[in-house]
Amino acid sequence: MKTKKIAYLGLLVALAFIFSYIETLIPINIGVPGAKLGLANLVIIVALYTIGEKNAFLLSMVRIVLVGFTFANLASMLYSLAGGILSFLAMCIAKRSGKLSTTGVSVVGGVFHNVGQILMAIWVVKTASLVYYLPVLIIAGLASGVAIGILGAMVTKRVKKVVNWD
């Protein structure tokens, strides 16, 4: 049982890693920095619904550190960490509340990822006016969250059919 889980987690790490790379190849220009497709969050959502919070959190952190050292730089790793941790906590709370479906949980994740990044950026460059980016980034997070959430639910359903941990 344990080996199965380790293999599955490794697979997800690889997938999240590749998605992050693809994301860096697709720049999105909506006038403000920090907007991304959120493809990697698809993997985190699927992990959250299939192997539980602890493993999903581990996956999220491993992904950020790996990506930080390869495709990005240490500064952007800092922003990703803030976004990743805040977004993960928010998604856990949203999921535990039992009031939202995968789409809702994913939307919460997308929005809070951007909120976390902006807060970290405000702290790093000490420029409070970065807050002005937030409305646009919230909408971007919403849009990406909806798409990723719908996809995530579809993938989760299929993955659950294939894997059982017993």
Binding site: G31, V32, P33, S101, V107, K126, L130, Y132, P135, V136
Partner: protein, 128 residues
Amino acid sequence: MEENKKKNDLILIGVLLMVALAAYFCISFFQGANTKNGVAVVTIDDAEYGRFPLVVDTEERIELPDGSYNLLVIQDGKADVTEASCPDGICVNHRAISKQGQSIVCLPNKVVVEIENGEESDLDAVTN
């Protein structure tokens, strides 16, 4: 149960959308109404580098000790970063800014260009 969740999703999305849109319009309204004699203030890593009034067309190459740079161009009352050494180029892609509180940030170089209000001139106050 599932139907309920879907409804909650929609409520969540709707509320977030409305809050973001309201905030967006409030911000652009206040920025526009409050801008007078805008000055582009450039800071590097929280230390002020220079102030450039938007009424004067200029070009300033902001050089950093490590050799990286951002090119700030002020034209037609707007400030824009048109060239930079940073890898992501986010500051270059950013639109030109002219309203108070707007900013262009280059995170890799820690360069911030922010629009502030300049000294209020008496003439403007009268003609207003």
